[in-house]
C-alpha cells in the first residue's frame, strides 16, 4: 500500500477544515487537561494522606494547671492502654519548636506566639486510628486533660475541599470529553461529506475500507495528539508556575506531587486523547462512509 495518497488526503482534509480542526484540538486539549488535573489532585490527596496520616495522631492536650502527678498518671495509663502503640510527651517548649518549624515562612505569626501559650500534650499513636472514640471517651474529663483531639479530623475538611476540586475537574473534564466526541464526530462527518466524491470513487474502484477510512482516522488521531500535547503543556505549566513557584514556597506542611506523577498522568492523558479521537472518527465513519 503506497502511503503518499493517504498523506495528501490527510493534508487536504485538515486544510479544508481549519476552523473545525482548531475547535476540535482546543476542546480535546481542555478536556484532557481537566481530566489530567483531576487525576493529579487525586494523587496529591494520596500523597498528603500518606504524609499526614503517618504523622498525625491523637493529641491529648493538657490543661495549663496540670500537676506533675496527674501528668505521670496519664502517661502511665496511656502507655498501659492496649489501643495505644506509642506515647510521646510534648512540652510547651517542644510544641513551640514544632510551631516554629511549621510556620517558618510566616515569621510574623511565630513572633506573636509565646511558648507558654501553647499547651503541653501527649502525642499518642494508636494501634488502630479508627478506635479514636474509645480513647477519647476514656481520657476526656480526666484531671489535667483539656481536650482529646483526633488530628485526622482537622484534615478531613481540607481533604473534602481538595476532593471537591477533584470531582469538579473530573466532571467538567468528562463533559468536555463528551463535547469533544460530538465535535470530532461532526468534523469527521463534514470531512467525509466534503470528500464524498473521492471516497465514492475509491469505493467504486475497490479501495479497501481501511484505505478509505485511514485518512480520516489519522486526522482524528492527530487532533488527539495535538490536543493531548497541549493538555500536557498546560499541566506542566500549572506544576511549574502554580505549584513549584508559588504553593511549594509558601506551604511546607506537606509535599506536592512530583514530576513522576506528572509524566505518568501526561502519558495516560495523551494516549486517552489519541484513542478517543481516532475511535470517534472510526465510529463516525462506520455510520457515514458505508458502501
Amino acid at each position: 500500500m503506497s502511503v503518499s495518497p493517504v498523506v495528501s488526503e490527510v493534508r487536504t482534509g485538515l486544510r479544508q477544515n481549519v476552523t473545525m480542526t482548531i475547535a476540535v484540538v482546543v476542546t480535546v486539549a481542555v478536556s484532557l487537561a481537566l481530566l489530567g488535573l483531576g487525576l493529579l489532585i487525586g494523587k496529591q490527596i494520596n500523597v498528603m494522606k500518606g504524609y499526614w496520616y503517618d504523622k498525625v495522631e491523637v493529641a491529648v492536650y493538657l490543661t495549663p494547671d496540670v500537676t506533675p502527678a496527674e501528668r505521670d498518671a496519664l502517661n502511665a495509663e496511656l502507655t498501659a492502654d492496649p489501643l495505644v502503640s506509642q506515647v510521646t510527651y510534648e512540652s510547651q517548649q517542644d510544641a513551640y519548636q514544632r510551631f516554629k518549624d511549621q510556620f517558618k515562612n510566616s515569621p510574623g505569626l511565630v513572633d506573636e506566639v509565646n511558648p507558654d501559650e501553647l499547651p503541653e500534650a501527649f502525642r499518642v499513636k494508636m494501634t488502630d486510628p479508627r478506635q479514636f472514640a474509645q480513647i477519647s471517651e476514656r481520657f476526656s474529663g480526666q484531671p489535667g486533660v483539656a481536650e482529646v483531639q483526633d488530628q485526622r479530623e482537622l484534615l478531613k475538611g481540607f481533604f473534602k475541599v481538595l476532593h471537591g476540586f477533584q470531582i469538579t475537574a473530573l466532571v467538567i473534564g468528562i463533559v468536555q470529553v463528551l463535547t469533544a466526541l460530538v465535535l470530532i464526530s461532526n468534523t469527521i462527518r463534514v470531512a467525509a461529506f466534503s470528500r464524498r466524491r473521492e471516497t465514492s470513487v475509491m469505493r467504486l474502484v475497490g479501495a479497501s475500507n481501511l484505505y478509505i477510512q485511514l485518512p480520516f482516522v489519522i486526522e482524528g488521531a492527530l487532533a488527539g495528539l495535538v490536543g493531548g500535547a497541549l493538555a500536557i503543556a498546560a499541566i506542566v505549566a500549572v506544576k511549574i508556575y502554580v505549584v513549584d513557584h508559588r504553593l511549594a514556597k509558601s506551604v511546607v506542611a506537606f509535599p506536592f506531587v512530583g514530576w513522576g506523577a506528572i509524566w505518568g498522568v501526561g502519558a495516560l492523558v495523551l494516549a486517552f486523547g489519541i484513542v478517543l479521537s481516532s475511535s470517534a472518527s472510526f465510529v463516525t465513519l462506520r455510520r457515514h462512509l458505508r458502501a
Binding site: 500500500m1 503506497s2 503518499s4 495518497p5 466524491r197 473521492e198 465514492s200 470513487v201 475509491m202 469505493r203 467504486l204 474502484v205 475497490g206 479501495a207 479497501s208 475500507n209 484505505y211 478509505i212 458502501a291
Partner: protein, 253 residues
Amino acid sequence: MGQTAQSAGQLGVPVIVLETVTKRFAAGTRPALADVSVSIDRGEFVFLVGASGSGKSTLMRLVTREEAASRGEVTVAGRNLNRLPSWRVPALRREIGCVFQDFRLLPGKTVFANVAFALEVTGRSRGHVRTAVPEVLDLVGLGGKEQRLPHELSGGEQQRVAIARAFAAKPPILLADEPTGNLDPSTSVGIMRLLDRINRIGTTVVMATHDSDVVDAMRRRVIELDDGRVVRDQRRGVYGSPYVRAASRLDAR
C-alpha cells in the same frame, strides 16, 4: 482485431450469473427485480434496455454488490455475492470497472491524476502507475491531454477519462450505466467504438442504455427489462422489438 471472443457466449464461461433473483427495496412494495435469471459469459457485450425504473440500474448495483439480492443467487467472477463478506467487496470491485452517465471525475485533479487515483488507492506501485496511466490514456485516445482538468474537456473526452479510469486496472468486467446519455450522437459513436475496442480485448461489457441508435448499430446481445422482469434476451438484438413491448403492455392491463 476480432480474434478474441466477441459474439455472445462463444467461450461459454459465465462471468455474471443471476439465478431467479428478486430485489425488493422495502417489504410489501413492488420488487425492483422480480425472478430475474441472466447469464453473461466472459467476453460478451450486452445491452440492458428498458424504460426508466425497469430495473437496469438495480441489476448493475447487484453485480457490484452495492445492493444485495432479496432472493436468488448472484455470482460474479466466480464469487457468490450472497455469501461474500463485506470486507471482500473491495476485491470484487477491482474486477469490475464502472462508467456512468455523469462521468464522476474528480474536478480538482488532472486527467492523469484522475486515472492514477484509481490505481493508487487500490495499492498499485508508483512505477506501475507511471506506465499504466499513459497506456490506458492512449487506448481511449486522450494521449497528450494528461495535464488537462476535467472542465477543460468536452463531454466525450470526459467520458473517455472516466472509461480510462474504469479500465486502468484492466478489470475483466466493465459496467456502463448510460455512458452516452449526456453525449450527442456523433460523440456517442466514438464512445461506443471505444467500448467495442475494450470488449474485443476480452473484457465483458454490460451497458445499460436508452440510446436506440447505439443498440441498433452494434447488433449485440440485448436484454430487455420491463417492470423488473426480463422480457427479451436476444443474441443480435435491436433496441425496440414492437411485439414484445405491445405484449407486455397488454399484460399490464
